[in-house]
Amino acid sequence: MNRRFSWFNATSLTLGFAFLYLPMLILVIYSFNASKLVTVWAGFSTKWYGELLTNEAFLSAAWVTLKVAVISSTVATVLGTMAAYVLVRAGRFTGRTLFSGMIYAPIVMPEVITGLAMLLLFISLGLDRGVTTIILAHITFTMCFVSVVVSSRLVTFDKSLEEAALDLGCTPFDAFKSVTLPIIAPAVVSGWLLAFTLSLDDLVISQFVAGPSSTTLPMKIFSAVRLGVSPEINALSTILISIVTVGVISASLISKRNIARQRADEQKALQL
């Protein structure tokens, strides 16, 4: 490995990160702007954060978003884990490739299409659009991400551990609960965090399936921006950025560290 910090490396790194993070950095800086005018810097202030707390519309949107994210990511984790378990464990059956393909297809499906499809489904079912429909739609599109994360862990899981549990008197469900689940728990947790952050910042699909009384935070921001960017929006976005960042970083940290440790443990247990 070339550890020398050449001018070329430095430039590419700076350009790359600038491209990725400059817009957000400017947004974060301006959220601390004392002036009402977004583009004019008038000194440091946190007053927009204070004002945000008194804005009823934003607070209720935040509450809806949080509710949707918690419920949908939890349900998606349960369903996604089940799907992953079956696809990894069921062995070869006719149409297995088709099934696993179908689980992962929504990842590459354009969100507009998913949103539209969900909308048509809800209309034909006669479901009133609101928080429930947003939750259902979010479960649908986050589930496959959970399933990808969990199945990648299950592939390396030693099947004889489950057989040993059965052999020692567990029912198949008990074996899953007391042996498989504790061992794959880190992957399940990071799947949940991933689903949570995906649901938190989804705009397109929510836009399609939301009703008049159920505005999520990203939708609120989007509509508010159309009337002009306010420092309040900047403050709100900064808060969202920090939540998502914390979520994503902890998800990847948990899965990386714990999966690596569990795997090392298992390897050691298998070897001498």
């Binding site: 020692l168 008197g169 569990q262 070897q271």
Partner: protein, 379 residues
Amino acid sequence: MAQPGTRPVFAPWNDPEQKPLIQFKNVTKKFGDFVAIDDITLDIYRREFFALLGPSGCGKTTLMRMLAGFETPTSGTIMLDGVDIAPVPPNKRPVNMMFQSYALFPHLTVWDNIAFGLRRSDMPKDQIPTRVEEMLRLTRLEKFAKRKPHQISGGQRQRVALARSLAKAPKLLLLDEPLGALDKKLRQDTQFELMDIQEKTGTTFVIVTHDQEEAMTVASRVAVMDHGRMIQVDTPDRIYETPSSVYVADFIGDVNIIEGTVSDVTDDKVRIDWAEGQPKINGTIAGGLAKGTHVHYAIRPEKIAIATQPPTDRANVIEGTVHDIAYLGNISTYKVELAGGRMMKAQVANDRRIARREITWDDKVWLSFTDTAGVVLLN
């Protein structure tokens, strides 16, 4: 092997009064078109240490997994204690298994691993600690009770797996290549430990192994398998001394196999014509054979003596030159080239220290053996 004459010999398989613990009746197992087990009928008795021996892919593991309940026979029945176990799921069988990979639960301590099965049995809660302590003592693991599986050595893990599978006092314990992951020295110690524990607990053990030495050491009876069939089921000494086929003779230990035709028969004695210009081999087979029968003569290298002068009192004497010598410390194996280029191995125990080897490369030697030293095989 052979028990002292004063003690009753443990041989329930010779006693028609004994009821077998396990009975395989015409069991066949197919995976698609592949026949893993081909019409096996086999009885295993209580307190036996039974070894399934064979190369990988011979069906020994499938046979064991059917006993544990992880595979169901395609046809035939398996009886355990007189009950057909086909409809019984693995968690309801009075059978426990020690896995090849040990399959210790990495998230549980040694103590909890051993208690795992007990907590799921109908044992009262307050008796579980006593039983776990007992198992820890039996396997000398008291000091490691609080450790996780990755914090102990391979040999200790092997003992945890054994303790865990014995904790529920199963009628039958299955061991799938239990010592495969241990180094040779540890493996030999553990073999004796296994036999000790088997005797102490009185449990019936069925062990799967591809290591013939291991099977011979631990087992009361050995079943040699190939391509899903039982080739021979017998005590280790009989498997070694009187193999029923060329396959068994060749699979177990070292052997010289000579092809030939029976030329003379007198009662049980046969003379085998095996090469142009060589003296005929004098062999023995109960009941004799018809003249002209095509046979294989199998003889173990250690039953062949090697000398620099032609012996006069042996039934078979063959002349040759030393081609190779393998010195293994306790024994030496001589590879001797006979006239016509054929090789024959002879083994000599080095029962005294030799400063100067009497026989060396390219020496002219005489190989000799009695007329009962080898086995005449028909296939």
